[in-house]
């Protein structure tokens, strides 16, 4: 039991990293614009396919390292396109944004099916990512260690960006009070756009990580997007710390529950856990303080 427990603890950490990478973009844009992009899962998919294509062009050990910026930029561009053509028009109607972006997700999935085939493609991880380490009876696959490392780097980078740069200052200002920020001359639309691109890019990067663990298929994003939504719900409005905490809690919960129950039941328990959690803390793990009544 002990080895299994430790193993699952580690698996929970890697699952949490994936949840976090998938949810960060959602949480950032939600904090700013109060909208959820249902096509966010397809940014993961796009990242996966871009990684696959990069490896076709640059095979070898470093292909995967190159794939990371490629996927980031590609997904960010696609996110920017969606934001500027669709989401911006719907900014005052969050529920309609949800639905319209679901339409986008449907189209993107079908396009991937037509372009790359329904069966999916396989990204071959380089040798330095296929091995594993054994520590105290626990197997640590390098691919999963790599994912945890990347998630930590992304998180650190984002924190620096938000806390230390001018754009970070603007984002925080809009996050706290959109009207006021606009009144003092911040171009809120540009901030929205930038954050949306950034968030989509992180999702694209998450797609590369998923490609290390499984096939890239047209609906690869779907299996991680619903847990990512739950992370956002539980995380609290626009707080990176809250999102991170919530991703860790849910990732560990999902992995540890699997010691006792099937994956299917674990999924149900995850939802029950989130509903119970909002009974206690409806504002999420961490809430940004605001005097606004109607958010």
């Amino acid at each position: 039991m002990d080895a299994l427990f430790l193993n699952q603890l580690f698996n929970g950490a890697s699952l949490a990293s994936l949840y976090l990478l998938a949810a960060l973009g959602l949480a950032l844009s939600f904090g700013l614009m109060r909208v959820i992009n249902m096509a966010h899962g397809e940014m993961l998919m796009l990242g996966g396919y871009l990684a696959w294509m990069t490896l076709l062009v640059v095979p070898g050990a470093l292909g995967i390292v190159l794939a990371i910026p490629v996927a980031f930029i590609g997904a960010a561009a696609m996110g920017g396109l969606i934001q500027s053509t669709l989401i911006r028009r719907l900014s005052a109607r969050p529920l309609d944004t949800l639905l319209a972006t679901w339409g986008v997700s449907l189209i993107l999935q079908q396009a991937a099916r037509d372009l790359f085939g329904a069966i999916g493609v396989e990204v071959r991880a380089p040798d330095w990512l296929t091995g594993s380490f054994m520590i105290a009876g626990v197997t640590l696959p390098s691919a999963r260690l790599f994912i945890i490392l990347i998630a930590a780097l992304v998180l650190g980078g984002l924190a620096l960006l938000l806390l230390k740069t001018r754009i970070g200052l603007l984002v925080r200002a809009v996050n706290q009070d959109r009207m006021m920020a606009s009144a003092v001359g911040i171009d809120v639309k540009r901030v929205d756009f930038t954050v949306f691109c950034l968030g989509s890019g992180v999702a694209g990067l998450a797609g590369v990580m998923l490609a290390l663990l499984g096939p890239v298929t047209p609906n690869v994003g779907q299996s991680y997007i619903i847990p990512a939504f739950l992370v956002v719900v539980m995380g609290g409005l626009g707080s990176i710390v809250g999102t991170t905490a919530s991703a860790i809690i849910l990732g560990l919960f999902a992995a540890l529950a699997q010691i006792f129950v099937d994956v299917s039941v674990a999924q149900m328990l995850l939802l029950v856990f989130v509903i119970l959690f909002i009974q206690v803390r409806p504002q999420g793990v961490i809430a940004v303080k605001s005097r606004q009544l109607d958010a």
Binding site: I119, A125, T139
Partner: protein, 403 residues
């Protein structure tokens, strides 16, 4: 009352369309010089990738037969419908094919869910379905011809082979649906009866890609062999994460029941190389009939197209129907099914097979080992033809097939 006005418009529009579509009830006796049959597979949704190839194989057989003069002097008119990977759509389309479009028989279905949903339609209309995929047994309807393997024609021969190789403990992993759970139930009974061990059993939702928990359990249980009934994409994730966790399929071999040539090719064969699969047909089977079928299929659908067991079953179903119609000298489903069951052996790409009295196919089982090019090296076969047993005597005592 604007709402009502709108409703009126729509309802009358719908009513008109519907009336226009319905050609009135027909007794489905072919008139003129053509005969209609249904081809009902999922062309959209999650199952489309697998079912599309079966549709292709069925259409190929129909075209070949038409080119050779048709059935009893009539050209076959194939009506293709989309089951959309949804059981209720399968039932709806089956009923459309039979009741509105006059199909004398239908080829199709893949998942057990689709077959179960169609079964009442075929029984009600007294029509005949030709079902091409391996399944969990436990069903026999007079209105279905089952050409795919029963558990005793695929799963159990695979187990016997594994035991003969000296494997004594097993871990069962599968996608969460009916075939894996029931096949594993049967396997467990046989494993326990043989005094061997089942060290664990785990199911992952269809399409699931996170196997970290399952693999941790496998690593702890250390079985001699993994028996894998995962479906589709999940296989890639499973093998990849197995490899990443340092478990080699050389020391812990995997026997799969749902990986065919198509899946192996898509997965990147290097990942699954050396693992085993059990089927009634492999593309690498020798024989002229097989070579001819492969050439015809690849000429039409691409020279790299993989050929799989369900495709061959779909293909031979059409020929079996033709032979049965000619024997019965009638398109009447009841006459055709009786003729089919007494047809005796007929030649197919997978060799000589025949339909048993319980309307399932008598066929051989083969064990293949995956090679680097995505093809299987056939390393064992059941030798004799295996008679189909819809109800496993050990797992379901007292159950028999009553037609």
């Amino acid at each position: 009352m604007i709402r009502s006005r709108l409703l009126l418009l729509a309802t009358s529009a719908c009513a008109l369309t519907l009336t226009a579509c319905s050609g009135g009830g027909s007794s489905n006796a072919p008139t003129g010089d053509s005969v209609s049959v249904g081809v009902l597979q999922s062309l959209t949704g999650t199952m489309a990738i697998s079912e599309m190839t079966v549709k292709n194989a069925e259409m190929l057989a129909i075209e070949e037969i038409n080119a050779a003069g048709g059935v009893m002097g009539k050209t076959i008119n194939a009506l293709v419908e989309d089951g959309a990977s949804d059981p209720s759509t399968f039932a709806q389309k089956a009923s459309k094919l039979i009741e509105s479009d006059g199909a004398v028989t239908v080829f199709g279905g893949w998942t057990s869910a689709s077959r179960k949903a169609m079964l009442p339609v075929f029984e009600r209309t007294k029509n005949l379905l030709w079902y091409p995929v391996q399944f969990e047994g436990n069903e026999c309807s007079p209105n279905i011809m089952y050409s795919g393997a029963q558990p005793n024609q695929q799963a159990l021969p695979a187990l016997e082979w594994a035991v003969a190789q000296g494997h004594k403990s097993f871990f069962l992993v599968g996608s969460d649906y009916v075939y894996p759970r029931t096949a594993n139930l049967i396997l467990k009974k046989h494993i326990e009866k043989g005094g061997m061990q089942v060290l664990g059993e785990a199911y992952v939702p269809l399409g699931g890609t996170d196997f970290s928990g399952v693999i941790a359990k496998i690593a702890q249980a250390k079985p001699a062999m993994i028996i894998n009934t995962l479906n589709g994409d999940s296989n890639v994730a499973f093998f990849k994460q197995l490899q990443a966790a340092g478990i080699s399929t050389k020391t812990m071999p995997v026997m799969s029941f749902s990986i065919g040539e198509q899946e192996a090719k898509a997965m990147g064969a290097t990942l699954v190389e050396g693992s085993y699969a059990a089927w009634n047909y492999f593309q690498s089977l020798p024989g002229d009939a097989n070579a001819k079928f492969i050439a015809a299929y690849q000429a039409k659908f691409g020279k790299d197209a993989a050929i799989t067991d369900p495709m061959v079953h779909g293909y031979l179903d059409v020929y079996a129907w033709k032979a049965a119609v000619e024997k019965a000298k009638s398109f009447d489903p009841d006459a055709v099914r009786k003729a089919a069951a007494t047809l005796g052996g007929f030649d197919t790409p997978m060799g000589k097979v025949s339909f048993a009295a319980n309307q399932s196919l008598t066929q051989k089982a083969y064990i293949g080992k995956l090679k680097g090019d995505g093809q299987f090296e056939i390393i064992a076969d059941s030798g004799k033809d295996i008679a189909p047993e819809p109800y496993d005597a050990l797992a379901f005592p007292g159950k028999t097939c009553k037609l």
